[in-house]
Amino acid sequence: MTGATVVAEGLQRSFEAPGGGSLRAIDTLSLTVRPGELTALVGPDGAGKTTLLRMIAGLLTPGGGRLEVLGTDVTRDPQRVQDRISYMPQRFGLYEDLSVQENLDLYADLHRVPQDERGPRFTRLLKMTDMARFTARPAGKLSGGMKQKLGLACTLVRAPELLLLDEPSVGVDPLSRRDLWAIVQQLVEDDGLSVIVSTAYMDEAARCAQVHVMNHGRILASGTPKALCARVQGLTFAAVPPAGVHPRVLQARMLAAPEVIVDATPHGGAVHYVRQPQADAARLAEALDGAASAPRGEGLEDAFMLLLRQHDNGTHHALPEPDERTPASAVAPDNPNVSPIISVRNLVRRFGDFTAVASTSFEVLPGEIFGLLGPNGAGKTTTFRMLCGLLPATEGQLEVAGRDLRTARARARARIGYVAQKFSLYGNLSVRENLEFFGGAYGLRGRALRTQVRAALERFDLDPTARSGELPAGYKQRLAMATGLLHAPQILFLDEPTSGIDPLARRAFWRTITGLAGAGVTIIVTTHFMEEAEYCDRIAIQDAGEMLVIGTPQQVRDKAGADRGTDMNAAFIGIVEQARATREAAV
């Protein structure tokens, strides 16, 4: 193969912005992709990753510039490119009423894969995706992770010259994510496949040969992960908070000083942070507030955050400062005098003869952040819905905010807020109209309603006149939270709130959560980002309806075994796999 796989020069593309004007999705972008490698596109939401991939796939016409894919001008002859590449869109449209095998056959026919090649190819794909058992199952009845794997398998029915993957692991649990990447990496190694992947996970980008960091339709930096990491060399540290202070509280304080701190995240009981290259020593010490701090190795996420902050000056995603009244330290969860706000004993939920949740017991204390983790299909959503009173339990006791959910569901509900996984507000209403409607639905009226709506708009920095459906993903998330908090609930339920949201927006989101918990609101949250478990006071890991472990992040890591280190992702995979092995041995 001669030359580059993709060459873009001065590429441009604008869209009509909602409410008139034009929006530059791709702004004089130039890029070269080498053959036979994994290339990653990373960047915040709206950076232009999907637009770029669609242009490479010949689905969008560039507004200007030159784009050559596999030596062909894709603008002039998109079909010639489409005959040779494979593309997996962000939302891979499987035909849900067709079976797994029928979906595979369809794509094999469309690509005219010869019959004698299909046997071995399908066997390999089904083995890699671990789906050989499910070939007759309709695609619509697969779990989220399995759908994504089937989408990848359909994309790979033949060996393309270039594979495009648009955020393949959004909403996919750590185990499926690992499997997905194993497939891709195997193909790159065995078949010399060229792959371009866009992702919000920096650990995924770190596995690629080349990483292009995008923002506002431009490339901020390109290079190997190592070269990019070198940019933050000497700037990365770990701070240990004083005893009794949760790392997230220290982290929130550090993020409030953007002039000295680029980024901070809780990690393994400490706070990993990146300091500004020209940080003022005195100001830095003030932000650390006496926490001991030591240098640590740098990661790609650190470099990414530094690049974005330098480009954006940190203004874009910053939320207003947390409420000054917020106490610096959350309610100590191990205080024996506090009675639990959620109490679950021997909770069971069955659908027919399928047990979605098996005999589960746990308690959550007021002001706690409680994380519910587990692979796709583990029973998290079912547990969640029972706690919110959306689904009756088959057996067991369930007390929320001092009310028995089986007898006083309505009264318990008045004390809880719920933010669904999917954006479930009215897209064609304005932000204010949505807030007013949901406030009314919670029974707020007149002055109380106006006050709450105004407070919500201020707290989440929302434009009241914007049309809700046209907000960027991060802002939709804010609006959903603002809506769930209008009636000042004691408990807030968040179902995968950060799924599909970039690291910047996730930081902003967790700062708000930390603030809320500090103000005494109890938070129950599910997530697929294992590092987010670090924000929680306690986490529970569920699989196949069983509660595998409950405890502080440290306790959970300890249970997974010391060899897993401080990495929550590894700890999670370890615990789930161990439990699955035990279960299989028992059968």
Partner: protein
């Protein structure tokens, strides 16, 4: 691109569309059960014929001749006379809506008859003008028979009195059955329905579920997508057509004076137009709800109201007539009625087939254009 590739992909896509069609029960309900319901509904439920219309008869003259004249009404299956004492009673019944007409035989009927100029009064309930004019026709017919006999009996005198007896013959629809008129139109309606309710969802559904984005980045061509989507629904439409023709022949005994192969051929041509129109709407709307609403407004309702199915197009305002001429359904409606009731009239067959073919070609071209593989 080779023909082999075209055939392989077309077969794969057609198989996929057929499976989706068969697995979605609501498709089959709309595609196969709804036409049966419509056939029964229109065949038995809807009729412009008047049967057993209640007519008040007020005999102000009770002579033998007057009674003989009125007896003509009892023999008709269309009329059901109710004998009443006076006009006041009849008027009250008319206002209450109990009767549809009043026939008054005046006091001086016998005297007038002797003079050869007998009058009876018929008062019609004009609220429903269609029914009223139908009753008028029936009463005229029912009264004419005894009078004609009477005149004959008087012998020769008829010519002198100068009365004219009209001998009516209705061509093409001899018994004047409205099912004869409605059932051919029903074929149009049912073939329109599949396009409006089924194919109008097909492309929009793929846009909504995001399935098109992945399909686009394959060697597939727009024409293959379009043809594969049309094929299974052509089969459904053909089954419906078969049901319509069987019902027309055996259930409603509508004559089929044109040749059956021609009826089937032009019907399939119209089916292709109807399905293509649905697909085009679907491809442009990109949203299932909008597509089905637009299809209802652009395709089904006009076919019901403006194609000449119910209303005679010669009596509508020029603007409406111009619009109706734009509808493929109008051209097919005229043709199919001619084929059923009158026979193979070639100028009509050729003209309408040419128009429908142009529609099919244009609609398929535009649908391919709308399915150009781009997300711009």
């Amino acid at each position: 691109m080779s023909a082999v590739g075209f055939i392989t992909r077309l077969r794969a896509l057609t198989r996929k569309e057929s499976r989706q069609l068969l697995r979605d029960r609501s498709n089959l309900l709309v595609g196969l059960l709804l036409p049966v319901v419509l056939i029964l509904l229109f065949g038995y439920g809807l009729s412009f014929d008047v049967k057993d219309a209640r007519i008040a008869v007020v005999m102000q003259n009770n002579s033998q001749a007057a009674r003989e004249a009125a007896m003509g009404l009892t023999g008709s299956s269309y009329l059901s006379p109710v004998w009443m004492h006076d006009m006041r009673e009849a008027e009250a019944a008319m206002i209450a809506g109990d009767i549809d007409a009043t026939l008054r035989v005046p006091h001086d009927f016998l005297r007038q008859l002797a003079l050869g100029e007998a009058h009876v009064q018929l008062i019609l309930n004009g609220v429903d003008s269609t029914t009223a004019s139908a009753i008028e026709g029936y009463v005229n017919g029912a009264l004419a028979v005894p009078f004609a006999k009477r005149l004959q009996r008087m012998g020769g005198k008829s010519a002198e009195s100068g009365s004219v007896v009209i001998v009516q013959r209705s061509w093409f629809n001899e018994p004047g059955e409205s099912t004869w008129f409605l059932v051919p139109g029903l074929v149009v309606l049912i073939l329109t329905l599949i396009g409006a309710f089924l194919t109008s969802l097909l492309v929009a559904r793929e846009w909504e579920r995001g399935t098109l984005e992945a399909i686009f980045v394959t060697p597939v061509r727009p024409l293959e997508l379009v043809l594969a989507k049309l094929a299974p629904y052509m089969v459904i439409g053909a089954i419906d057509l078969g049901m319509c023709l069987l019902a027309a022949r055996w259930l409603f005994e509508v004559p089929m004076r044109g040749s059956l192969p021609i009826i089937i051929a032009v019907s399939l041509l119209y089916l292709l137009v109807s399905l293509s129109l649905g697909l085009l709407i679907s491809a442009l709307a990109r949203n299932q709800f909008a597509a089905s609403q637009i299809a209802l407004l652009v395709s089904f309702m006009p076919a019901l109201m403006l194609s000449g199915f119910v209303f005679d197009l010669r009596n509508v305002p020029v603007v409406i007539r111009a619009i109706s001429q734009l509808l493929p359904a109008t051209h097919f409606m005229g043709l199919i009625k001619t084929l059923f009731m009158a026979g193979d009239y070639w100028p009509d067959i050729l003209r309408s087939s040419a128009i429908l073919s142009i529609y099919a070609a244009v609609l398929i071209t535009f649908t391919c254009r709308a399915l150009r593989k781009t997300m711009d």
